[in-house]
């Protein structure tokens, strides 16, 4: 289970990466593994507002539907459009090519409230039991 050190994490298994003040969001390796083969993804439009802890999209595996929750509040700056034609990218490369949206944060401090890699690792270990 890969958990990059430099990212922040939610209890719903999204990750957030600070890229020069803009926040890139995706789902974790653990999340994609639990979901199984991802076959469909529904993402917001550029310019849409997102709110911390609220659903911003949906990811579906062949068997299940899962909502995607925004790790922070803000506005959608970019959407990974190629995912709609290649949702399997989320399984193959959840932390890089499988990113979902970029958020312009309304409060930069939101990010610090999220789990760091160590805390997320402990959280995942707990879930596995």
């Amino acid at each position: 289970m890969e958990i990059p050190q430099d990212l922040r994490y939610t209890r719903e298994h999204e990750w957030a990466r600070n890229k020069g003040g803009r926040i890139v969001v995706g789902i974790t390796d653990f999340a994609q593994d639990q979901l199984g083969d991802v076959v469909y993804v529904e993402l917001p439009d550029v310019g849409d507002p997102v709110k911390k802890g609220e659903a911003f999209g949906v990811v579906e595996s062949t068997k299940a539907v899962s909502e995607l929750f925004a790790p922070i509040s803000g506005k959608v700056l970019e959407v990974n459009a190629p995912l709609s034609d290649a949702p399997e990218t989320i399984n193959e490369d959840p932390y890089e090519e499988g990113w979902m949206i970029v958020i312009e944060p309304s409060d930069p401090k939101d990010l610090e409230a999220l789990m760091d890699a160590k805390a997320y690792q402990a959280f995942v270990d707990e879930q596995a039991h």
Partner: protein, 360 residues
């Protein structure tokens, strides 16, 4: 505590992800649903289906008694032949859909759905009509070997002449030295076999098939692939696409209802329904808008709910979203259009011919 099949340890060793299904702890996937689906469509996959139940009718009254609770004409099949059909209530509602294996006129094996083991046994025993009805579900392991390379692989492990064993025929014989019923049946739409053996021998047959199947790149396959494979064929799943409140006519199973074969439980109700016409019908559809239909989603016409999606997935073989739904008969013809409500959005759908997938 969910029940486990005799193959539980084999699944753990194979790295399966286990989930609870119909009271059973079953493998939902090993490698991944899509990989397993493709293996069955192009090579060969191996499923543990030991959660399925086996109810046996024995004795001089066996055939007659079974015929009285079964919608299909079981009198038409011969020893060594299998037949699909339904068990119905007086109302015509479906108790279960089953496969009957005629080992002899006085020895018929009824393969029932996992979740219905006890219900079916009680139902059948209460309609025994002098036959000896026994629930042998725990006495059997059942494996499904499915895919275009299933026959060539299995032939190396058995003396049963598979080239002479046609679809829906079965024969007793050894597989890897273990006594089995070798049946050319399945739930995937591919050529393949279902192997019934003594419960404790299931793991040995499983291991032998995986070992012998290495040249064919055999793939253990879970319930996830089993569901996507059956849905591409529009095979109905009891509990999702039909239940005690739906009839075989509504479920599109008129082909296994033989109203003229003589009396059976549910016949009068089904006869009446056929004469009066159906209010709703199960149809196959594809989505023409993005999205994936799921069990329980609403079917809409002009913004009003008119039916229910009972199964849906993104077809791994076709790449399109397909599903089954109960719709008013007026919307059941091929080419009819309606909407499926997906998270508050109306996604356009069109009724299509089934099966969705046609074997190449």
């Amino acid at each position: 505590m969910p029940q486990r099949t005799p193959l539980y340890q084999n699944h753990v060793r194979a790295g399966a992800r286990l989930v609870e299904f119909a009271g059973w702890e079953m493998p939902v996937q090993y490698e991944g649903l899509l990989a397993e689906h493709e293996a069955v469509r192009t090579r060969v996959g191996l499923f543990d289906v030991s959660h399925m139940g086996e109810v046996i009718f024995r004795g001089p009254k066996a055939l007659e008694a079974l015929s009285k609770v079964f919608t299909n004409d079981v009198g038409k099949i011969v020893d060594g032949q299998a037949q699909y059909g339904c068990l119905c209530r007086d109302t015509g509602g479906i108790v279960d859909d089953v496969v009957v294996y005629r080992r002899g006129a006085e020895d018929l094996l009824v393969c029932v759905n996992a979740g219905n083991r006890q219900k079916d046994f009680e139902w059948l025993a209460s309609h025994a009509g002098g036959a000896d009805v026994s629930n042998e579900s725990d006495a059997w392991s059942q494996l499904a070997l499915q895919g275009p390379l299933a026959a060539q692989l299995l032939q190396r492990l058995t003396k049963v002449n598979l080239s002479q064993l046609r679809s829906y025929r079965f024969a007793p014989g050894e597989v890897a030295g273990i006594a089995c019923l070798v049946a050319r049946t399945g739930y995937t739409g591919e050529d393949g076999f279902e192997l019934f053996c003594e419960a404790s021998k299931g793991p040995a047959v499983w291991d032998a098939l995986l070992e012998a199947g290495k040249p064919e790149k055999i793939q253990p396959a879970g319930l996830g692939a089993r569901d996507s494979l059956r849905l591409e064929m529009a095979y109905r799943l009891y509990g999702s696409d039909m239940d005690d409140s739906t009839t075989p006519l509504e479920a599109g199973l008129a082909w296994v209802v033989k109203l003229d074969k003589g009396d059976f439980v549910g016949r009068a109700a089904l006869q009446r329904q056929r004469e009066q016409g159906l209010a709703k019908k199960l149809v196959g559809f594809t989505l023409t808008d993005p999205g994936i239909p799921r069990h329980g989603y609403a079917v809409q016409q002009d913004g009003r709910k008119v039916g229910d999606v009972t199964s849906g997935t993104k077809s791994p073989s076709l790449g399109t979203s397909v599903g089954l739904a109960y719709v008013p008969t007026a919307l059941a013809a091929e080419g009819s259009t309606f909407a499926v409500e997906i998270r508050g959005r109306a996604a356009a759908a069109r009724v299509v011919k089934t099966p969705f997938y046609v074997r190449k």
